[in-house]
Amino acid sequence: MSLRSDLGRVRGLGSAQNGTAHWWAQRVTAIALIPLSLWFIYSAVTLVGIDRAGFKIWLNAPGSILLMTLFVIALFYHMQLGLQVVIEDYVHNERNKIVSLLLNKLVAVFFAVSSIIALIKVAFGG
């Protein structure tokens, strides 16, 4: 007979050993991405064929850099969460799985941070 409580027994189960945290983060970023994606598509439509000077003017318009930064954060976070599930589903070799999951996180952070720095450079740089 086990003396562990039901909660203690199920806590930490699941393919990623982190319970509902992943599922919840995926929903939070998804909800954030509904308005942000629609705004991004609208913006992309107005930016077709833009040159860099025009892009800088657009980025300095009220709200642009704020919404672009939020979009980039939510996008790469959501991307990392989604790709993690794909890796967990299809990569069965334990070593390959851990390496893929690690790379997935590092690549997502790298591209998110480099995008945000690029936005700041264009908006405030020369």
Binding site: R27, A30, I31, L33, I34, S37, L38, I41, A44, V45, T46, L47, V48, G49, I50, D51, R52, A53, G54, F55, K56, I57, W58, V72, L75, F76, M79, G82, L83, V86, F111, A112, S114, S115, I117, A118, L119, K121, V122, G125
Partner: protein
């Protein structure tokens, strides 16, 4: 772990494709495709940070027919993933889980994603494009 002589589940191709299963795998395909699109977005922003020439080259690539094809695919993928994601949220809330409703919402999501994509492209290359 020994998988020995256990019976295997039938392979995917023995099942008849249905709107439910096809849209489900589309959600994953578009998600993976959008991950590539996210890298393109990061490249585009970094090109702008690098300088006018780098940005010009990236814009020229995107204006080429192949670049346009990619952008068209990403537009549909984003709108499909967005619409189907909202469908998933209704399911999370316990709504629309009866099979006829699931099929109807599936067709609605599919048609909405196509219509919105065509709208965005008509707007982008018709009226609004290049207004900055």
């Amino acid at each position: 772990m020994s998988t020995g002589n256990r019976p295997l589940s039938p392979h995917l191709q023995v099942y008849k494709p249905q709107i439910t299963s096809v849209l489900s795998i589309f959600h994953r395909f578009t998600g993976v495709g959008l991950a590539v699109g996210a890298l393109m977005l990061a490249y585009w922003l970094n090109a702008a940070a690098y300088g006018p020439e780098a940005f010009e080259r990236t814009q020229a690539f995107l204006a080429h027919w192949f670049g346009k094809l990619l952008l068209f695919g990403w537009t549909w993928a984003l709108l499909y993933h967005l619409c189907n994601g909202i469908r998933h949220m209704f399911w999370d809330a316990g709504l629309g889980l009866e099979l006829p409703q699931v099929r109807a919402s599936g067709w609605f999501v599919y048609i909405a994603s196509v219509v919105l994509t065509l709208l965005a492209w008509t707007a982008g290359y018709g009226m609004l494009g290049g207004s900055y």
